[in-house]
Symmetry: C2
Subunit: 428 residues, 2 copies
Amino acid sequence: MVRLSPSSLHDSLRSPALESIGFLNEVMSRYPDAISFAPGAPHPGFVAGLDVQQCVDRFLDHLVHEMGHTPRQARLRLYEYGPSRGLINGLVGEALRRDLQIDVPSDAVVVTVGAQEGMLLVLRALFRPSAGDLLAVANPCFAGITGAASLLDIPVVGVDETATGIDLDGLTAACREARAAGRRIRACYVASDFSNPGGSRMSLECRHKLLELAEREDILVLEDNTYGFTTAHGHELPSLKALDTERRVIHIGTFAKVCFPGARVGYVVADQPVIGQDRLLADELAALKTVVTVNTSPLGQAVIGGMLLEHGGSLAELSRAKSELYQRNLNQLMDALDRTLPGRVPPSIGWNRPTGGFFVRMRLPVPADVGLLEISAADYGVLWTPMAQFYLDGAGDSQLRLSCSYLDADQIETGVQRLAAFLAKEIG
Amino acid sequence: MVRLSPSSLHDSLRSPALESIGFLNEVMSRYPDAISFAPGAPHPGFVAGLDVQQCVDRFLDHLVHEMGHTPRQARLRLYEYGPSRGLINGLVGEALRRDLQIDVPSDAVVVTVGAQEGMLLVLRALFRPSAGDLLAVANPCFAGITGAASLLDIPVVGVDETATGIDLDGLTAACREARAAGRRIRACYVASDFSNPGGSRMSLECRHKLLELAEREDILVLEDNTYGFTTAHGHELPSLKALDTERRVIHIGTFAKVCFPGARVGYVVADQPVIGQDRLLADELAALKTVVTVNTSPLGQAVIGGMLLEHGGSLAELSRAKSELYQRNLNQLMDALDRTLPGRVPPSIGWNRPTGGFFVRMRLPVPADVGLLEISAADYGVLWTPMAQFYLDGAGDSQLRLSCSYLDADQIETGVQRLAAFLAKEIG
């Protein structure tokens, strides 16, 4: 019988990112009754009442009354194959214009199977193995981008993330070092508004300076906007793409958090022209997509399209309602930590104070590894995520990530009590 | 402003497969009123009456009454993230057992975004760039697999496809040549029942011999079963996977044709154990999927799951109804060609006589290229697909592919009349 040697399989399968995703899922599944600060999933209260059929009907209505389709044609669009670039690009483009002041033609938008496929497509288009180009990422970093890079054998360079964004001197030094080694950094990945897992938010100054740096060093910027909508009302900053006058920024977003994950609908804005081709980078991404997923489920797109239409073509109102809950949860988590931990746990335990996003990071005086997680889950009924998987350089192994998005107020309180008991007893 | 040089983008974007997909879509879109023998899409009559909500409700019912979920939990499963390996693996495994005698545990099944993502995941898992392994494919070949290989920089070797399947001597020779060059063929892709575009069907003898060859040469077989359901009732042959006692076969399928494409749901059966890991290849594919699409839309899976449940957990009945239409269309297309072309067009024009699938291949005495397609579309109102894109070796440039799946009887008749006029006037 055939038996496959692990060493005969692609190296990415042995990468820390992929291995830890699998292992964590396994741990979580064994403790379904624990209070979990682990998942970065939207709050279940937002999706429980979803009426998918109503959204689909709204989109069909739009196809018939605004796009001139017959009812039969409209229904067929949902059930058949569709353009690989997407079906709701115009609606997405309109929402980006209204909500984020990102003003691009709908031709520059590609609808993808979540932000994840968008990242994979962008990396594939931009990186040729023979060129040996490097991807720079803010470190710690979302495992989805480093994982996609490892799937494509793209070498990654970590640049420290500070509280106000990526370390610009570090990025400049990385560009210089790459050049000295006869290589170059082709692109830099950042999450400008509330990175996962760092929780950092890029200051306006850092945004401007990053764009200047990108121009100077001739690199592209991949901006992940997944958590931008969690910004407290009135505190919005322009996205890198909104500030981008040179088309240096490729903007990647998702409807997973602001609408719902099960639709699997995200998007890429890629308005970079390709020389001599009368095409944009978006066209190249759509071409690559034909051999990855062919097209994004038109049914999923119809639900998201319907939700956009229901809200007047803008997600601002939807974002605000959700942002309020996540702000409340985040503040409650930090308050509960402040009220509960000091005096009970070693004083070397500290945590950051993000102003948005889903995540708080905590530093322990010992490794926050899977062994410790197992104890936390089995004996104290509380789950969290080890941070080591998010670091490129083996740092961060004494940190854990606490997510507040999926929990209710009372669960956050109880969870922090359990966490306090765990830390008091097991650490120190 | 940034302008990207085409040579700075990944080579696959310049591959014939990807370029031609884009170009053909563009030509098609300019002639919406032409009769099109181009698309490999299922007949619109099968999807027009689809009641998605009913399918979803059926699946929810199953989650509640058979899987023990509360109604709220069941609804959340549709809207939230889900396991990367899939949500309906048990139902898919059961259907494979009943309909195709493929008897594997549901752990060996991964649900993918169509067969296309399945192909990408399988290729990525099995091919390490540093190993320099080769993928053998039956030539002519579905552009989705060669396209996915080019996206992953996997070198491909074409082996002739005969009327009864892949040329086994050719495959043996290719293995030998690879070894002589210090390399090896890691896997061979075939569509055992009615290849796209070749229309060939592998004989039972060839199936057995291919499995023997695979064992002898230590290669894996990737079996694409997309068109297996179009087999005329009573003429079924066992799939390679059903015959596979050594776990040499990875079976890839899709619900796009037998259910509907808009769900974007396919699957891979990969029951190969990984040495020392207590894992199957399916687990590795699910791990890779976390950085490609995270998970397949649970909403899409629910619709397909509901359709499976509606039909008693088997697709046999559904397949039969659809197979009858496609058989009828295929026979009508060949009959119309027989009745209409002889005497009117040069006698060097011939076509094959497949017994299933969606496609007939026609050979012209001149190149069947995009220029000729443009004339056919503009002046005669009939569309077809140039075959050159499906060949690895530049052969096949005088062939075109005619698809019968999307058309009604009267459209096939009119289309063949137009084709005859076009061939009579423009060729010869």
